[in-house]
Amino acid sequence: MAKDIYEDFLRLAGFEESEMSEYLPLWRKASAKVGLTEGDIKYATEERIPTYFDLRLKGVRLSIGSYIKELIDLTRGDEYREKGAKIVYGILPAHLHYYYALKLTAPDKVFVSFPDACIGGGLNLLFHKLNPYLENAERGGASYGCRHCALNKTRYAARNLGVIPSPDISWIWGLICDEGPKMDEYIQLKCDPNWKTYVTRIPHDQPLGAVEDEDVSRVEYLASQMRDGFEFVQKEIGIKVTDDKVQEVVNIWQRYAGKLFELYGLLACDPQPASAIDTNLFGTLLFMPYNTGIESMEKALDILIEELKQRVANKEGILPGAPKLMMWGIPANNPWVVKIFEENGVRLPFSLGFVLTKKQVTPPTFKDPYMAAAETWFRMGPNCNIGYEAEQIREKIETYGADAMVFGFFDFDRWLGGSHRLLARMVEEKCGLPTFYIEGDSWEDRDYSEEALRTRIESICEIIKMRKS
């Protein structure tokens, strides 16, 4: 019997034999729809994934499987609509509790997705195949030289190429960048008049160091924005969500965040029990909802935590005694970045920007779900002013330890990426830690290729090792 690469891929991704008959035809269809050829699947199965992931870890395989189930689901938006479901999209970063609350309230009546994050977050990481989307958007006017965000380009292209249908409502968030919401306006005017949106925004007008989650008027404003937005979405799709459901999601999110907290604690051990790339997919569920639910990724996370505990107990892992470098955001779509650091004797446990502080995993102080959501939002450093974020980074470095810190790889984002040079200065001033900046793009590697960045990474590694010695 001929080798079936699609089946092999699913097996690699931790699918059970009992799931094959259901998922194999779906995977074939979905992969074709998102633009993956048989050659792409073969490359992922035989080269890319085995090169960058530790497939001995069942939790890692299952995390890939969980992502693939979500990717398959994303391509079935039209089918869901035919069955009467309403389609609700969002973008990174958004407060995903509301999307999950819709799903918990009416699982069969609503389809939720952050389509660009789903496609962009996996297609390059696993298959190195995002370029057709980026190029399509560039032909559609998101010019190459302007450094538009790959995610926004992917959203445009996904709609333009017919990979995803129009939403019943795209609740678009501009709490961080400007281009995210404006790309929805672009899609609506340029290629899909039915692309209906609701925009939620808040100005970046806080002084450096302001503790935004403790500024009640600011929390109230965002809470009002969220309430208006969520009420609009509910009215638009005819689903009424109770506060209890939102609270249920808050509890689920806190539980999942707590487990990630535990995972990062393990990764900070020496020797590091797994590479940062192995654990990347788990973090994404803190920021984007899966229409298929959080359960499969949570199950994978539970398994991985147990596996890593065992490794820590056995003192198994990579680069024992090596300098520990913290990176604000590990460019997971370019797994070669972590590899080059590791090859040069420096280990990176996780993205420090997305690790949670003690305050961030503490339940909110407000009972009103919108106030609680807004408070939670403002506790996250990247959502706030960089003075506050720098302080949070200081706490994280104290908690996890580091020999140096690297910023960068967000050059496409005029808010997040734009802060990195200043953040690097502030963190260096606060912690006395050497900091570095690398210009790059975490979503794609056309401009900043392995060849282009190798020398820069190698020189950083040399400096860190010299200082450590």
Binding site: G141, I202, P203, D411, L422
Partner: protein, 385 residues
Amino acid sequence: MNTIEELAKIARTRPEKLKEQKGKGVKLIGYIGRFVPEELIIASGASPYLLCRGGQPEPPDAVMPYLIRFYSPYSRSQIGYHLMGIDPMVPILDLIAIQASDCHEARLADVCEYCKLPLARLGVPPDWDKSLSRDYYQKQLISLKEKLEALTGHTITDEKLKGSIESINKIRDALKKIDLLRREQPPRIGGYDFIRLNHYSFYGDPEVLIVQLNNLYEQLQKGKSPFTGKEPRILLVGHVIAAGDYVVPKLIEDSGGVIVAELLDEGMRQCAWNVKTEGDLIANLVKTYYLERTPPSIFQPAWEKRVEFIKTLVKDFNIDGVVWYQLTFDEIYSLESNIVSEAMVEINTPFLKLESSYEYSREAMGPLTTRIESFIESIKQKRSR
């Protein structure tokens, strides 16, 4: 000396004059952005100074230690001159009010604060069609008013505010009259001069500016147009022509075209809209500044409305071609340019997109000149057919 040159001199010597004022105890308030009402600053007894410089490549580069390069050169310039040590005003300002309507401005404010400059941020929600957002902006204005009062020690009374609104309205009225002279064929004044006039109108005492601008209007009305009537009539659209960034407007007019209208979000007086002087004056400022004027590109929704406005300008000002002036890495304008470009195709109006990083070296000027000359030439040919 003609009036434009006189106004240019007043603007050029403004820093010296403000320095003298500061010596006498007058507070100096720098401000960045169209949503910071000059009226409030004047009513507080302080002197306003618009920070809107640009057109040189070095100042944007001076910000690189603090900011990544993917920011518009306009935003970076507002602190860049200071970082190079060649800004006469920033070091003597008592406060800089910066609007925060987009990430470029917000990060500029971060750099200013990091560099220990005295700062007031003015949040401007871009989702402007909500009452929540409008109320937010109003609260921001009230907060700015309080900061100005605390700094100057003067209460901004309704009477003072009304007086400053009336003054600025008169400046707008004068500019509006001058602007409308460009509807004539041939226009009485070109865009290169009109844009500079707008800039000069920010750098003088209002009473002097009102007299000078009205004098200029009289002169223009009585005088002969410097144009022949054969020049293609150009609409210039984009984010901003900063003070000093005159290469493109000048090239357009040196190449045989004439700019008869603009849609520029910053650096212009937005003189079509006056602030009402009756009732709640802060609410009036909100209405004019936030709700009535053509929304800037960052507002959402905005682009359909802006395209309609551009089409109106094309019709009302008999526009032959549109030049889109794009600043590098200005991502929102980059997207909008495609929307406008398609709309211009629909109404059969030639469209040229130019991009600038404020790099006007000899190497850069050659292709830029060629593109503009070709565009003007092609419009002339189209007209002659």
